[in-house]
Amino acid sequence: MVIASLPSVAQVWDCLDTIADPEIPVITLVDLGIIRDVKWQQDQLVITITPTYSGCPATRVINEDIVSALNHKGVKNLRLERRLSPAWTTDWMSEKGRIALEDYGIAPPEAKGTPARCPQCGGDDLERTSQFGSTPCKALWRCKSCLEPFDYFKCI
């Protein structure tokens, strides 16, 4: 009888780092910083996830994507745990994720609360058009140099 070996914790992290955020497909769940813990409890894999925003509709899709990706790796006994505290912060976003966001045209979060530069032309003469954007994690900004609107990933 052949028993397929279960992935190690490091292999699970690698697998999660291939799952794209459903709304911003250029960054992965690991880039986003929402995976807080991965561990084996006997033969059960426990993944701890923190939501970005309370009502973010992507949360459900993210959970389904995780289950499906790990089922594919042979993990059938899987539990997803939600952790609210400490609350998710954009400080947990990876450097790789920040670069990918900017390449995609979304200004990455900045500690000072405003984008550093226009992701299109690099200009720094910017104005906010709305505190909210197309997803809960973004705000709408406009560059006054190239006159293009862009999304800014809010810093929280």
């Binding site: 009502g55 505290s85 998710w88 505190q131």
Partner: protein
């Protein structure tokens, strides 16, 4: 009243207020004056519905009768809802919607600030998550109240009318009763009355910037927190609960 009975009521007050307000705000979807505001209102409603899920899920857990957040939202009638009367007020115009939002956000940001130190970790954890979102809401609603209040003669007149109309509903936020007494004693929640001074200071500053006068009359409508509602809540529930009533257990 036991600690858990009081906590259940308190969680319904929090969760029902965010639920009904989110439903009211979502009525604007596709109708706001400009697209940025439409998106902002929808995002605010989304945050509120997410917070509702946390509060009502915990309420069901504390109650211990196996009711889920959805059961509580969709399968109770008017008299079992514990939301503030303020949040069931009709939207009126855009200015009035944002005035109601600001009066509520100002209270909610103070309440969540105190709940961060709740002796019940489950409550403190939800407060930590929600307070980050509410900090954003209050910044926006305050900014809009100032922009419209200190705007054109027409927007100023409408915002003053909105404040005059809604002000008799703010006092209910600060009413303490036997539920609060139990929770104050065990350090789960603050005395709502203790939040009034900070709320008055915050709202006073914003109304001054908005060139709006706070009504002097201290009359307060109350009853929402104990299940006596205005005629409006039934219509909201008829709209919100229709699908689960007609097709019990439907999922998508």
């Amino acid at each position: 009243m036991t600690r858990d009975q009081a906590l259940f009521q308190f969680l319904l007050r929090l969760g029902d207020s965010t639920l009904i307000l989110s439903h009211r705000v979502s009525e604007w979807c596709g109708h706001a004056p400009v697209i940025e505001e439409d998106i902002a209102l929808a995002n605010t409603a989304l945050d509120l519905i997410g917070q509702t899920q946390f509060w009502l899920e915990l309420a069901g857990e504390v109650e211990g009768k196996g009711r889920s957040a959805d059961d509580l939202a969709y399968l109770r009638d008017v008299w079992d809802f514990r939301n503030l009367l303020l949040v069931e007020r009709p939207n009126g115009d855009f200015g009035k919607t944002l005035m109601r939002q600001f009066l509520f956000d100002a209270f909610q940001s103070l309440m969540l600030g105190k709940l961060l130190k709740s002796s019940d970790k489950r409550v403190a954890d939800i407060a930590e998550k929600a307070s980050k979102e509410v900090a954003y809401h209050v910044e926006r609603s305050a900014g809009t109240v100032v922009g419209l209040g200190d705007g054109t003669p027409q927007s100023h007149t409408r915002m003053q009318a909105a404040l005059d109309d809604l002000y008799p509903y703010v006092g209910e936020m600060f009413v303490s009763d036997a539920v609060d007494a139990v929770l104050i004693k065990v350090g789960i929640a603050p005395d709502p009355a203790s939040l009034r001074a900070d709320w008055d200071a915050l709202v006073g500053r914003v109304m001054q910037d908005a060139t709006l006068d706070i009504p002097k009359d201290a009359f307060t409508h109350k009853g929402g927190k104990t299940g006596t509602h205005t005629e409006h809540l039934g219509y909201i529930l008829a709209d919100m609960q229709f699908l689960q009533r007609a097709y019990p257990g439907a999922e998508w």
